[in-house]
């Protein structure tokens, strides 16, 4: 599956579930993130690699989740006991251990990113400690693109404090080594502004950041920034809907504006 579709499907999934955490290869800086993943998986340590531990956790977590669904009708006590047996809590200590072993080295980044993501829901202290360490030890790493991404999703949908997210994006952007890394981070900052419907000066700045990202970003960022800028400046309530001109299913050409004078329910749909 190509990355664009994966990202879109992932965001669709986010909209309908609480699965906010732990997705590994999503970032505007996907190419960078991917090659880093490959690097990381080739680095072995006495206790195995990040990928192995991540997969191991994913497997037990999915099993636990399925049991959660099955336990819906159980008593409150049973549910509480099940909640307490959430394997992620155990894995948080395992990831912390690994992050400590690799402290200050590039290998630590994957563990810390994981801790930030999964900890946000299960152990806030662990999450914030991982974030602080990433910002302290790895601020100029190209792998911070993944943090910019997960930070944005958490601020947009999981209650991460808005101002702290924006400030952190600024910090990452200011230390980025390349214009493309900077553009990707500022894209995610603008994404937060858009998703939280933040108005005023921040919104104006977001549109400027996006315009700049379209110029300086990599292909992925250019496309994402173009879409988001259009959404923020043309697709808000109170704005005249952009024209659509195209063919219907029979091949006849028509325009959205052909229906002026009528209320239009515009439905992006598919028979899936």
């Amino acid at each position: 599956m190509d990355l664009n579709l994966r990202r879109r499907l992932f965001i669709t999934l986010l909209a309908t579930s609480a699965l906010l955490v732990g997705f590994t290869s999503q970032s505007t800086a996907q190419n960078t993130a991917q090659s880093n993943d490959q690097e990381a998986s080739q680095e072995s340590s006495p206790t195995g690699t990040f990928k192995t531990l991540e997969a191991e956790h994913g497997k037990v977590w999915r099993t636990w989740r399925q049991e959660t669904r099955g336990a819906k009708a159980a008593s409150e006590e049973e549910r509480a006991a099940h909640e307490a047996a959430n394997p992620t809590l155990l894995y948080i200590s395992k990831f912390q251990e690994r992050a400590k072993q690799h402290q200050g080295t590039v290998q630590a980044i994957d563990y810390l990113n994981w801790l930030f993501s999964w900890g946000w829901r299960h152990d806030r202290n662990a999450s914030m400690a991982a974030l602080d360490q990433l910002l302290r030890d790895h601020i100029d790493s190209p792998r911070m693109g993944r943090l910019a991404f997960s930070l944005a999703l958490k601020a947009a949908r999981s209650g991460f404090p808005l101002q702290k997210a924006l400030d952190t994006h600024d910090l990452i952007a200011s230390k980025a080594k390349t214009p493309t890394d900077k553009a990707a981070t500022l894209y995610w900052r603008a994404y937060v502004i858009s998703e939280t419907n933040t108005q005023g000066a921040e919104r104006e700045r977001a549109t400027r950041d996006l315009a700049a990202a379209i110029k300086t970003g990599d292909a992925r960022t250019k496309q994402d920034a173009t879409g988001l800028l259009f959404k923020m400046t043309r697709l808000q309530d109170g704005m005249v809907a952009p024209e659509i001109e195209g063919e219907d299913l029979d091949g006849s050409t028509f325009k959205l504006s052909d229906y002026r004078g009528k209320v239009v329910f515009l439905d992006f749909w598919g028979d899936w």
């Binding site: 879409g227 259009f230 697709l235 005249v240 028509f254 209320v263 515009l266 439905d267 992006f268 749909w269």
Partner: protein, 100 residues
């Protein structure tokens, strides 16, 4: 969604209201058959052979499907992604605006 959409079309027959789709199925011939078989009585733009990655949804930055917009008779976006009774009330209000 289909039953709701069918009933909206029926309810607003002869009134200033229309459903316009942007269909993201890759196979145009197949979706034409489905539209007929399932009796889906609204006109759709076809988003092209790239499906959900086609030109119209790309331009409109559609990230989650289905995505809907409610546009008034002047062409102004008034609501996004509303459903159920909220949608019913909003349509009624906007149609009432047109009919005065």
């Amino acid at each position: 969604m289909y039953p709701h959409e069918r009933s909206l079309v029926k309810q607003y027959q002869g009134k200033p209201f229309v459903i316009i789709g942007v269909n993201s199925d890759k196979d145009r011939a197949a979706i034409k058959t489905i539209v007929k078989e399932k009796n889906l009585p609204w006109r759709s733009f076809w988003n092209g052979p790239q499906g959900t990655r086609g030109p119209i949804s790309t331009a409109w930055n559609i990230e989650g499907w289905p995505m809907t917009y409610l546009i008034d008779a002047k062409g102004v976006i008034r609501h996004r992604n509303i459903r159920g009774e909220v949608l019913d009330r909003a349509i009624a209000e906007l149609v009432a605006e047109v009919e005065g």
